[in-house]
Amino acid sequence: MQFVGNVWKFGNDVDTDAIIPARYLNTSDPEDLAKHCMEDADPEFAKKAQDGDVIVAGKNFGCGSSREHAPIAIKAAKVSCIIAPSFARIFYRNAINIGLPIFECDEAARDIGEGDRVEIDASSGRIKNLTSGKTYQAVPFPEFMQELIDQGGLMKYVEKKVKQNG
């Protein structure tokens, strides 16, 4: 799968409260959550972002709460994927589980600027900055994770397993 989109840049340690503030957690409706995506980091983000845009951030993206509402909000805001040097553990797991592609790449996260246009090949993890022409290679997923992604997320994987066990 390939993604092409424009970049929105964020800093280090973007936490889940910034991604989706708790004041909106009295609902789990993805469309409602999308309206407030990244609100406490950039109040205009949800209005400005276009389908397929890419978030490029600093280290430890998604730290804090276990709220799956965070990757759900980003996915529902039609962001295609996230590139960062590192992701917080629970956010990483949640993103994989719900099928929001994320890529760990220090150099790409540092180099790529706000507004750049990037192309990402999801299966190989190759990132190309179409604005500068530079290419980068993200850390490949462990085999097990790739299997989860290929099968369409954790619930699809579990569904298959449950059926196998009768």
Binding site: D13, A22, C63, F144, V162
Partner: protein, 420 residues
Amino acid sequence: MGMTITEKILARHAGLEKTQPGELISARVDVVLGNDITAPVAIKEFEKLGVEKVFDPERVVLVPDHFVPNKDIQSAEQAKMLREFARKQGIVNYFEVGRMGIEHCLLPEQGLVLPGDVIIGADSHTCTYGAVGAFATGVGSTDMAAAMATGETWFKVPETIKFVFNGQLQPWVGGKDLILHAIGDIGVDGARYMAMEFTGEAIDNLSMEGRMTMANMAIEAGGKNGIIPPDDKTVDYVKRRAKRDYELYQSDPDAAYARVIEYDISALEPVVAFPHLPENTRPISKVGDVKIDQVIIGSCTNGRLEDLRQAAKLLKGKKVHRDIRVIVIPGTQEIYRQAMAEGLIDTFIQANAAVSTPTCGPCLGGYMGILAKGERALATTNRNFVGRMGHPESEVYLSGPAVAAASAVCGYIAAPEEVL
């Protein structure tokens, strides 16, 4: 090569003799936890699976604690979803308003989390239960749903950082100060994907409450779990509460650690974390003049009886500063009752503090104590991210209950000695 306590617990639950960091395993879970924010998302996913029953109605624990008593219609709908699922599934450990508590105060108190367990919870502070010698970690709702259906989940076995806290604690210094000190040292991603094992003389001397405060905040350093190898104190605490068997694991003397970090905490002062990250710590003597508008004493970090006792000791016979509002939130109904019996609640009310039924409300900016633009709070909670307690232009400072109580009297962030 020996194994750490974390590796041993995970190996046992995966049916393996041995396991090592980096290995991907499928492990049996003893407890699966969810709350009124995270469980509704999990329930929706669970119901899509077509599985009739949860793997074990005694091992799924549901605690509505974030937006209850319901703050609005939407949160009432979420709580209702939890309640109906609990009834339909015959969930034994569902805790209704009036019987509930803040989940991470409640589960240890009820003996639902025990040494040697593997516990996952759809709440990041599930790592609290490492204080009883369990492997406990926060996950998302989809992971919760999958585990409710299958009774198992996958893990990447984490590397462990061992923290050794040497020395004797100064008066008014406790678990919160130790963990803030460590987070200040290694940073909010210093233990990312890793187990944090807490040992040393200061941990031996710490109460179970203080240990829970420490394990609770492992996630604030990015930790997968925080864990304290069980000792006599642990056994004393759990044996009165446990309704099932448990196992005590210890790290082997030749276990491999990613890092060993030693602190001499003999001279450690109470620690305060400045906005907007828990790693922005300063000793109380270096805080300077920080005026505050609100003090919160409570949460899964510091809402236990020991915390309330400490705060009451400083507030007894005094009044909250006229420019300050103070909210005290006992962590569970049991803690509330005990605090009443000991006269602590009366002390708080006499001092002009508001005392609330258990709720996570203010900690995450949910309800009960939301900050307006430009306001500052000092809280015994666990996070001080931008907008955490309300307006994105408000500020949250973190401390233990002693500094919080002293500051409530002074109107600015103050050392306990200032009000003695």
